[in-house]
Symmetry: C2
Subunit: 454 residues, 2 copies
């Protein structure tokens, strides 16, 4: 077999980078569980009929089929019962909720950390296989707006503890935007008519700039005053203190605008205890989110200094995504793109693990006849939580030390002929007597640690 | 949307069952890391050319293709560059090793816990999507046999700590078997000739019994004496003390038999410190393993009282699986079928989590105006590692207590009007004064625990 080559868009990590990813996932799990989220996983595949309900996604979906089925010859591909890999965790979660509603307690809080797949063109921060970490809460019938603030607070708390650059969590509200547009005299809804056209145009603000958006709005038939109003709203950046004033200053009034404004203010107010140097929360009235199932609050998140990656953590309120024909299950959630956030950081050395292996100690083997003795020492150390390997060879000690050094293991243990023991810190060269029943490495060497790079 | 139905073979767990799975994965990770295994993950897809090198697997493989590629119309499916979901973690690991050999330190010890997919007919213990937990060690050039013992010891230690029934870890050695067959005068190798035919026949011993195997051996052209010898070997069950005597008593001699016997004895001897009530290790000379890449030691594992599930933990030595055209990377590993082992146990109540949610405390909310105060109490409790939710509603307290009770949360916290606090154990009804800055639940209530069922 010739050496295989990587598949573009399907990143794989070396062990030292994987330790960073594990650390990130551990922190997320700890924070999510402290806030009472239950873990679930859903199967990797969904029927196409479930995935494609919201349209426009089919370009990005990977179909899945048993090769032995022979169905390739029947021309049946693309039917609604075909399976495909999920492209996010929200749609599968909504399906899981309706399927298991009788066994869940509502409001149901869950976190879900899994791979998802999208057939997008690979580039930095965009992968075809990547890990997402989602939190959502759903209720039956209706879901109080304080949950919208809760999602931002929990994810903000997690982001604050992760070895990432500081972030800006941008919040908007689709009701606010739609109400504002209605107040301008536009018609339709978030998908249709001049409201839908305006939402799609404003969503391109980052890419085409204010003049480009103004052109699109003119094409959509907006008057100059309407276009100016929509662009003015999209340029609002505000905190809890100045949000209402900034929006009112635009001189538009509508009942739906008032409701959205109140909801957005409630979110901003409730998260004012996050550490602003790590997680700044702002109202950013240009945030719209591409997927169309959001109905109220929407979130995006950008890492400071890494804005070109786009949003690493997004989500929102969806009042109508989950519906089993009898009840509706409104939800709100937010999803961290773990792979999208950390692979670029790893690639530029902005975060790293202190060593590539969990091993803290290698026990040296004087000769193969003494391997069992080394095994027993290793078992004694492991019993106190010290990750330990026994040297794979009984080469001369210099070679065994180099073996440990090459893999970044800090300590080598030497059973002595007289039954005593010594341990060497191979960074300093210091070698001291030690008891396998009680010795521990310094706390900072016990496990690999993850640190922001230089 | 009508309520969706589950997909056969793609099991999904409710939160309380998922807690059991998480506990199992946590124990595995801890044991594997204590033994110096690094975590890696590989992409879910491999080119068909990588997966099908070993033949006979294509029936079980799921092909994957971007629906937008339009390739369904070109009739190109089935080409070697097509992607498919991996069906185990050993073949992808071998590919990862050859792809990254320049960045790894050998011998390289890794663990890998991921989903795999096989299009098999679903039944108890057989799924189309399931989680495997693998440990392997590979070296460049050659790999010492003490690693074969190490894999059994590490997985045995993990199995002993898991909330599973006791297991029997059955070890065999393909060199021993092949050497024995050569000593009987058979020809070919593990895949071909009368040796291959005999291996395939003996592998069916469980299904067709000794008489059925004897018929198959006669059809393969073995003499009565050869068939008796092969069946005699397959019926050997021995420990380190009686293995050599049991095999020698069959009166067959061959150099390869001696080598395999020595390797098998070394494995049995090295693992004699496992707790036999939890993990009994025996030589079982009927174990062959279906996949053909094993060359020496092979392992299978059965849970006592659950033998009908088949082997839940299998693996072996593969001297030629990974090869980059310049170097060969022999390896040995063992893989636990996590889903296969735990879903039947969960289904029959043989293991369960103490509650369905991580939450230990629900903080009651007297009215919505006091929600921020409840949020602050929750933050104080979480800072000491107590998983806490704030009541989703400000309903009357009786309803809030029932909310906690329904989801199995043991404590409800009541901020009092005078600024003091009380906490109620809703199982006993006892309510006492408590300080949010110092209160902790009893250790057994802090997190859900996992226990063997009745």
């Amino acid at each position: 077999m010739a050496r295989p080559t990587p598949l573009s868009g399907f990143p794989e990590l070396l062990p030292q980078a994987r330790l960073v990813e594990q650390h990130v996932l551990d922190v997320l799990r700890e924070v999510f569980e402290l806030h009472g989220f239950s873990s679930i996983e859903t199967r990797a595949v969904e029927p196409l009929s479930v995935l494609l309900r919201k349209g426009e996604i089919d370009k990005e979906v990977y179909g899945v089929r048993r090769l032995a089925d022979g169905a390739d010859d029947t021309g049946e591909r693309g039917s609604a019962d075909d399976l495909a890999l999920h492209f996010d965790l929200t749609v599968p979660f909504a399906r899981y909720v309706t399927e298991n509603a009788g066994h869940l307690q509502f409001p149901f809080r869950r976190y879900q950390v899994q791979k998802v797949w999208r057939g997008e063109r690979p580039q930095e921060g965009r992968y075809r296989e990547f890990t997402q970490a989602d939190i959502d809460v759903v209720d039956r019938g209706s879901l109080a707006v304080h949950h919208d603030a809760d999602m931002a607070r929990v994810m903000g708390e997690a982001l604050a503890r992760l070895p990432l650059p500081g972030v800006t969590l941008q919040v908007n509200n689709r009701r606010l935007v739609e109400g504002f547009y209605r107040g301008l005299g536009l018609e339709g809804d978030v998908l249709t008519g001049s409201i839908g056209a305006t939402m799609r145009a404003v969503d391109k603000l980052d890419k085409v700039g204010a003049r480009g958006v103004a052109d699109l709005l003119a094409q959509a038939g907006l008057t100059r005053a309407q276009a100016d109003g929509a662009l003015g709203l999209a340029q609002v950046r505000a905190g809890a203190g100045d949000l209402v004033g900034s929006v009112r200053a635009l001189g538009v009034a509508h009942e739906l605008l008032d409701q959205g404004l109140e909801e957005l203010l409630a979110v901003l107010t409730a998260v004012d205890d996050l550490p602003a140097d790590r997680v700044a929360v702002v109202a950013d009235l240009s945030v719209a989110r591409g997927l169309d199932y959001y109905t109220g609050t929407v979130y995006e998140t950008r890492m400071r200094g890494w804005e070109s990656l786009g949003s690493i953590c997004s989500g929102g309120r969806y009042d109508a995504l989950a519906d089993d024909g009898r009840d509706v299950y409104p939800g709100v959630g937010i999803s961290l793109g773990v792979t999208r956030a950390i692979i670029p950081l790893l690639g530029r050395g902005a975060v790293r693990a202190s060593r590539p292996t969990p091993t803290a100690v290698v026990v040296a083997v004087a000769d193969e006849a003494h391997r069992r003795e080394a095994d027993r020492v290793a078992a004694q150390l492991r019993a106190r939580g010290v990750a330990t390997e026994v040297s794979p060879t009984a080469a001369r000690f210099g070679k065994q030390i180099r073996f440990a050094d090459r893999r970044g293991v800090p300590f080598v243990w030497f059973p002595q002929e007289d039954g005593s023991h010594e341990v060497k810190d191979i960074r300093s060269g210091e070698q001291v007597a030690a008891d396998p029943e009680s010795w521990l490495p310094p706390a900072e060497d016990l496990r690999p640690t993850v640190v922001a790079g230089d």
